[in-house]
């Protein structure tokens, strides 16, 4: 069914190579000299950069761009000495503000690098004020989109219609910008401004009625919805499109949602019944069924009329709708309706979630007596167990034994419901109050055995990954993770299973999975191209998805997983004595981008917010009772940002330079989610940065003496070892620590730590050899109780860390 991946390249190129003005405008071609200057800056060859820019200024003494470039070179050469007031401010406040594409582009970049986020887009606004033309306005619009600045997006699009050859289209851009601003950034608006912007956009769109297509109609409906009190208008305008005279009128799902929502607001039951009947003729939709039943009842129509509609199809939705019908007309669910549903769905995985919604209206005796009459089987039995909620573990064991043979007989691509039974047993073994190494080992043995039989089952595999990581054999967790074939945007949501704290749990830069995190997952490269796609959506007047696309772009820009990978890669490079230049450069530019996003989202830079896209739902319902084994992966925003700061601290301690980002945020993040070793390391680096290496000698000695004890088991063993080793290696490499006693103490601690490595790991491995698994349970289930690959996993970890 997925046949298009090979065609994708063609399709993608077709989209981005379209000869749109927007595509041409995103690049700012420069003469050779300009490029050479920027290249020289990137290579930190400032002598050449200064010579070239001087030549450029001489060639065009009245041009603005060379003057800005000249200031930019000075800034990049020495940020501390650069004076905005003397250098750039006069250019910005001149009678004739910069207004050519190159100048504006460079100024925007320059101001962002200066941390003047509020001014970066103002340069476009000023240029437009003085020299209004579509080109500048369009550049302003697209830059606002890249920066995710909805306020400027709104302002720029407001000015475009009078300059555009297609003002109609631009009215919609403005309306959509207003919708985005109000929906995603309402915090930036006063109520007065909110209403004003909505009214202006509403007037613009009203002036271009009638709408040409559904996309335009959708924007108008969004706008009306935000204006409030416009439900009637929405209904009147959508109704002919959705339920016109022509039998084959459009079935647009956005419009379906608008009309249902607003008929409900208006309590217009007559038309609700009509619309639902029309739509139900083409869509099997539970929402529509429920609204139809409610309105039928509200109109005092007979139950028979509603029942007639429910005879249209025989599907899950329709059988379940009889519950709604019963409740609306009789106040209780009849046994007949229950039988009708269960007779077809008692042996389907969805049965439990469906019935659960109505559980308060169904008495247990009815439910179980109906179930009892139905033929047993794996899924039926699982559903009965879910409903009963009693003796879950023992019953799960019994059912697993009873149905074990069915796992062998199923297709590989099918998922066996036995995984539900097994996960009940696993949950009991590793829930917080029961968690021991023995239980974790038993759980691994069970899962390993099961996975071989139900090889594509990801629900069990994710728990295997977690357990391997918990007991401290990440190499085996990575093997399992590779089987999931995680890629593209999925990486952002699921990689946390193995990428959390990878630098201290499994510092292997050659691992194929981890090396991807180090170079940066592909999804973030893709994310960088999203503004280009969003621009195309505007250009093509494809409006319905734009707000969602912008939201996704924002979520990936500020993703916790992305930040985790960056900070972990930097910590790994310290541990492995690798070069950090490129990684740090990336960290600084991403930090700036994060500040910019936050400024544009909250209007201030005194707080930084990440977005947590990690999917913990796939671990439910077990995860809530098994928090201990998940601790390695349960990092939060504070932990992640503090990890980024930690790497900047190391950089600044080494250079002795003050870092404005560190100063602003150093105490902003709590250390709650840090392990003891992480907290020790972070406090130590923080103090060294604040007090300077010379002033901290005595304190540093004390701190080294207070180093936390290493854990002797689970993931914490390697983690503690690596965090402490990284910290000591970093201290050892800081030339500004000159105190001889301190230096000697650091080297001694390093030596002691390294000496302890093999023994600690070997002793833990030995502990595993002597572990008594719950063999009776394993044998009862007919599984093998050998977990010898774990020893191999310990050896892999030991080999990796003992030579660091």
């Amino acid at each position: 069914m997925y046949d298009e991946i090979f065609k994708f390249v063609d399709g993608h190129e077709r989209l981005i190579k379209e000869p749109h003005r927007i595509i041409q405008n995103q690049f700012y071609p420069m003469s050779v000299n300009q490029d050479e200057v920027l290249d020289a800056i990137e290579r930190s060859n400032f002598k050449t950069a200064n010579q070239l820019v001087a030549k450029l200024v001489k060639t065009a003494p009245f041009a603005t761009f060379p003057k800005i470039l000249e200031q930019y070179v000075k800034f990049r050469q020495n940020r501390k000495k650069f004076s905005f007031e003397r250098g750039l401010a006069p250019i910005l406040s001149g009678v004739s503000p910069p207004n050519d594409a190159n100048s504006l582009h460079l100024l925007h970049r320059f101001l962002i690098e200066l941390g003047m986020y509020g001014k970066a887009l103002d340069v476009y606004a000023r240029a437009m004020q003085k020299y209004p033309n579509f080109e500048i306005g369009y550049q302003w619009f697209t830059k606002s989109l890249e920066d995710l600045n909805f306020m400027h997006l709104q302002q720029s699009s407001f000015q475009l219609p009078r300059l555009s050859t297609n003002p109609r289209q631009v009215y919609f851009w403005n309306a959509l910008a207003t919708v985005g601003l109000v929906k995603l950034r309402e915090n930036l608006l006063t109520e007065q401004k909110r209403n004003l912007l909505l009214q202006l956009s509403y007037k613009s769109l009203s002036s271009v009625k009638p709408f040409k297509n559904n996309q335009e109609l959708i924007v108008f409906c969004h706008l009306c919805e935000l204006c409030g009190d416009k439900s009637q208008e929405i209904v009147e305008i959508v109704l002919p499109t959705l339920c016109g005279d022509n039998e084959r009128t459009s079935v647009d799902l956005h419009l379906k949602n608008f009309i249902i929502k607003h008929l409900k607001v208006l309590n217009d039951d007559d038309r609700m019944v009509y619309v639902c009947q029309r739509l139900l003729a083409c869509l099997d939709d539970y929402d529509l069924l429920c609204e139809f039943i409610k309105s039928t009842k509200a109109l005092d129509l007979s139950r028979e009329i509603a029942e007639q509609e429910l005879k249209r199809r025989d599907s899950r939705n329709y059988r379940l709708a009889t519950f709604e019908l019963d409740l609306s007309f009789d106040g209780k669910i009849s046994e007949r309706s229950l039988e009708t549903y269960l007779s077809k769905f008692h042996n389907k995985p969805c049965c439990h979630v469906d019935i659960q919604r109505y559980r308060e209206f169904i008495d247990d005796s009815s439910l179980f007596s109906v179930l009892e009459l139905l033929p047993p089987g794996l899924l039926h039995d699982c559903n009965v167990l879910k409903f009963s909620g009693e003796k879950i573990v023992e019953s799960s064991i019994e059912l697993l034994i009873k149905h074990e043979s069915e796992i062998k007989n199923k297709l590989d691509t099918d998922y066996s419901a036995c995984s539900y039974l097994l996960l009940n047993i696993i949950q009991d073994l590793v829930r917080d109050e029961n968690l021991t190494l023995q239980n974790a080992a038993t759980a691994i043995a069970l899962l390993e055995n099961y996975q071989k039989k139900d090889c594509f089952n990801y629900e069990t595999r994710v728990w295997l990954i977690i357990l391997y990581n918990y007991v401290g054999v990440p190499s085996l967790a990575l093997e399992q993770y590779e089987q999931l074939k995680v890629k593209n945007v999925q990486t952002d949501t699921i990689s946390y299973l193995v990428s959390s704290r990878f630098s201290s749990r499994f510092p292997d830069k050659n691992s194929s999975v981890l090396s991807d995190f180090i170079v940066g997952a592909k999804v973030y490269e893709s994310a960088a191209s999203l503004p280009q796609f969003i621009r195309i959506a505007f250009e093509r007047s494809c409006f319905a998805k734009v707000v969602g696309m912008i939201d996704l772009y924002d979520k990936l820009q500020r993703s916790i997983s992305r930040w985790n990978d960056m900070a972990e890669s930097l910590q790994l490079s310290r541990l492995l004595n690798d070069k950090r230049g490129e990684l740090l450069k990336n960290m600084h530019s991403t930090w700036r981008a994060l500040e910019l996003s936050n400024f544009n989202a909250y209007g201030a830079t005194d707080r930084l917010e990440l977005v947590d896209n990690r999917d913990y739902v796939i671990l439910e319902p077990i995860a809530s009772s098994c928090s201990k084994i998940l601790e390695y992966a349960r990092t939060d925003q504070s932990w992640t940002l503090a990890s980024g700061l930690r790497e900047m601290l190391v950089e600044s301690i080494s250079t002795g330079e003050e870092n404005i980002d560190i100063c602003r945020f150093l105490d902003a993040y709590s250390t709650d989610k840090m392990t003891q070793s992480e907290r020790w390391s972070f406090s130590l680096l923080k103090k060294l940065y604040r007090d300077g290496c010379e002033q901290s000698a005595e304190w540093l000695l004390d701190s080294l003496n207070d180093k936390p004890h290493l854990h002797t088991e689970t993931w914490l063993l390697t983690h503690d070892y690596c965090v402490q080793l990284t910290t000591l290696k970093t201290l050892d490499g800081i030339k500004r620590i000159k105190d001889a006693t301190c230096k000697k103490k650091i080297k001694l601690e390093l030596q002691l730590l390294r000496d302890a490595c093999s023994e600690l790991h070997m002793s833990y491995a030995k502990q595993w050899e002597g572990l008594d698994l719950d063999n009776s349970l394993i044998e009862r289930l007919g599984f093998s109780h050998r977990v010898e690959n774990i020893r191999q996993g310990f050896m892999t970890s030991l080999k990796l860390v003992r030579n660091l």
Partner: protein, 196 residues
């Protein structure tokens, strides 16, 4: 209990219950965006009103990605991906998604002549499902699923049920039967023949 909803870009972050399935493809972001931009109403999902996620949203149980292409009598919609989470399989959800696509593309503004899809020749289960929905085999695309190692097919004589695809079609009324062949399995073509 399912409702059919438009697919939004942010839904890509909550698809693991569906896309962790080993046989479900995870496309690059650009590919999804192309579909969202070019065929916004042909990318939709089923949501389960009985299963609410911690963010308050009903869980996505399946989705449909489709497009329109071709010219004149060959103007049609094509199913790129239709997939359902394991927990919601065997309850005709995929059929429901296919029927919704048929409804949407049979009306304004699409008015297609037929819907087509490709399926591996040895995937009997899926073929039966599509046949139940009114699809029939129009032709066999030899080497459609060839890997890089397999290379491009040189001849139509060598067929492999694991590497070839059936181009299956369901005709709309306006197609007047042009997309139906009773002997579709005997007609063979190269992969480049199915580009529109």
């Amino acid at each position: 209990m399912t409702t059919i909803q438009p697919f939004e870009a942010t839904d890509l972050l909550t698809l693991n219950n569906i896309n962790l399935d080993i046989l479900t493809e995870n496309f690059p972001l650009e590919f999804y965006f192309e579909y969202l931009i070019l065929w916004p109403d042909l990318f939709f999902e089923s949501r389960e009103l009985t299963k609410i996620r911690p963010d308050g949203q009903p869980e996505i149980s399946g989705y449909m990605m489709a497009k329109t292409e071709g010219k004149g009598p060959l103007w049609h919609s094509h199913i790129t991906a239709v997939t359902v989470a394991p927990e919601f399989r065997r309850i005709s959800l995929a059929s429901g998604l296919c029927t919704a696509l048929q409804t949407i593309t049979d009306g304004e503004p699409h008015n297609v002549n037929f819907i087509d899809l490709f399926v591996k020749c040895n995937n009997d289960l899926a073929i039966r499902l599509y046949e139940k929905l009114g699809y029939s085999v129009f032709r066999r695309v030899v080497g459609y699923y060839n890997s890089l190692e397999d290379g491009y097919p040189k001849t139509l004589n060598n067929i492999h049920s694991n590497k070839d695809a059936f181009d299956m079609r369901r005709a709309m009324t306006r197609d007047e039967g042009h997309s139906i062949r009773s002997d579709g399995r005997k007609h063979r073509c190269f992969p480049h023949d199915v580009k529109f």
